[in-house]
Symmetry: C2
Subunit: 340 residues, 2 copies
């Protein structure tokens, strides 16, 4: 082993995001000397495949991180809070996909296309933003830089894979039940998600907003380092397996034409412009699935207010919304020599 290969731990390796992290480490040819898959006691002993090799999943404990350089966490906020400090203590840099540390002032919240410079001040933990936030800020960054953004009104159409494997199974089973005219059992969500829309993602705050909606506000402000930007969100779960969609309405500080916004998207890192209504080309979840880019289309002037635009933004919530973003952070840490 030389200096340019790294020992990786994946906490939550059997989950929806963790399993894609393993796939991406391979697919993106990450310089991994070894991979240590970790999960809760219930999943310990299972195997996962990495570079054609069967790896046994070990139980995630405070002792899991000896010799680890990078620990990718995607095992829920409670486990991140419990075990990430131990990983840092053991000398690893933690890239955490949960909400546990996102609002900690000492923890950078990073989307590599948007605020890579924030990686420089990490103290061992770097937070991966929420999926719905990531794809929105990637799409808005070029416009934000070019003309400023004062206000965002966003409505999301979120896939069940954001909740995890149990929700994917629930949508599958409920859909089967409904198609057979049977009563669909709701175990993961409070109500049927098959052929339905649930305007409810995570718990409700006193002001009537859900935690998912609050995250979009707080995380966007932290990533853009802009505590005054106005944001209001309505987050909705839809019967889609993978791929979050967002209807985004923005008011910019200065005027920008639709053509100029399209030009910016064409040049923006991580963005794929799919915006040709005449040819019926626009972003869709089934098209985004399995890809790492944020798909942007349906860019239109909003005539109901000054300096306003509508955009339609779709991305694979498990990839760019979680695993890909975490891997990109790891790659940047390596490239910039920020692993110490």
């Amino acid at each position: 082993m030389n200096d340019s290969v790294y020992n990786i731990a994946v906490a939550g390796a059997t989950g929806a995001v963790g399993s894609v992290m393993l796939k991406l480490l391979e697919e993106r040819d990450f310089p991994a000397a070894s991979v240590r898959p970790l999960a809760s006691a219930g999943s310990a002993g299972k195997t996962v495949t990495f570079r054609g090799e069967e790896l046994e999943v070990q139980e995630l404990t405070s002792e899991s991180f000896a010799g680890i350089d990078i620990a990718l966490f995607s095992a829920g906020a409670a486990r991140s809070r419990e075990f990430a400090p131990a990983a840092v203590e053991a000398g690893a840099v933690v890239i955490d996909n949960s909400s546990a540390f996102r609002q900690e002032p000492s923890v950078p919240l990073v989307v590599p296309e948007v605020n890579p410079e924030d990686l420089k001040w990490h103290e061992g933990i770097i937070a991966n933003p929420n999926c719905s936030t990531i794809q929105m800020v990637v799409a808005l960054k070029p416009i934000y830089d070019a003309v400023g953004i004062e206000r965002i009104v966003v409505t999301t159409f979120q896939a069940v894979s954001g909740t995890g494997n149990a929700a994917i199974e629930e949508l599958f089973r409920q859909s089967e039940a409904v198609l057979k005219s049977e009563e669909p059992a709701a175990l993961v969500y409070p109500y049927q998600i098959a052929f339905n829309c649930l305007p409810h993602i995570e718990s409700f705050h006193d002001n009537g907003y859900t935690n998912e909606e609050v995250k979009m506000v707080k995380e966007t402000r932290k990533i853009f380092v802009d505590p005054l930007i106005g944001i209001t969100a309505t987050c909705v779960r839809v019967p889609v397996f993978t791929g979050h969609s967002e209807a985004v309405n923005i008011r910019t500080s200065r005027e920008i034409s639709v053509e100029e916004a399209r030009r910016l998207m064409l040049a923006a890192p991580g963005v794929l412009l799919i915006d040709d209504p005449e040819a019926l080309r626009y972003p869709m979840p089934v098209e985004a699935t399995g890809h790492d880019e944020v798909l942007v289309g349906r860019i239109r002037r909003d005539e109901s207010a000054e300096n306003s635009l509508n955009l339609w933004v779709v991305s694979d919530n498990v990839r760019k919304g979680a695993a890909t973003n975490a891997l990109q952070i790891a790659e940047l840490l390596v490239a910039e020599g920020l692993l110490t």
Copy 2:
């Protein structure tokens, strides 16, 4: 037969909306002396059931309306344009569910809870607004009257039944195919709708908006008799059989609290307030299906702008969005003696 019973024609009687119109005529105990089901040549000869009786569907022609008092049209804009004038000529009042006449200055566009007074100036044809417009204006009317509304940013989650029976079947078959890992065939929509979202309803205009989005702007202005109200819409088809959902963001002319907005909803005709986040109560399409009310919930102050609120509005698009609204218009015509 006496003066207070009426001969009804239903054009498009075998369609998704037409069949519900027949059901509602019965369910609402409409004073129908007779019902004449009409449809295209392809459906002529089929039977429909009304008050336990089998009625043979007749071909819709210019000769279909002799003796008819009220003609309920739901057979598409082309057929309305072709045959509604003949129905008027024959002495019927036409209530047209298509887009054919909605923007005609001489044709009232009516939602009974919102602008019943516009029925007074009809000249034989009354237009039923678009489904997505109807539920939005029913929900916004009490706020509009109380404090004024200057701007609306709306994002829709529209069910396939808005397209008709073929689309209901397509969602069913495509869902079955996907669950069996088979390739879903797209016949009605340009892409797969099962487990997907299509930001595309009706044809695209040159400005990048779809016709559905343009309708929401024009129809809301006509119904509110407010050509200056700002409206921008993003209309999205989602894999839901019945029940359109809308995330509605409004800027009011004067301030209004969430509590006051809720009180207005409680008193508003045709509105059912379902807004108790603590008890996880909010409107959903599966809950709206089969009901005539517009369900409103998730009312929240939007802190990103002055005098702004978010609402979540759900309704059965085949009922209140089409058939129920048409029947309510017919009932009003009868009650107000406006059938001549």
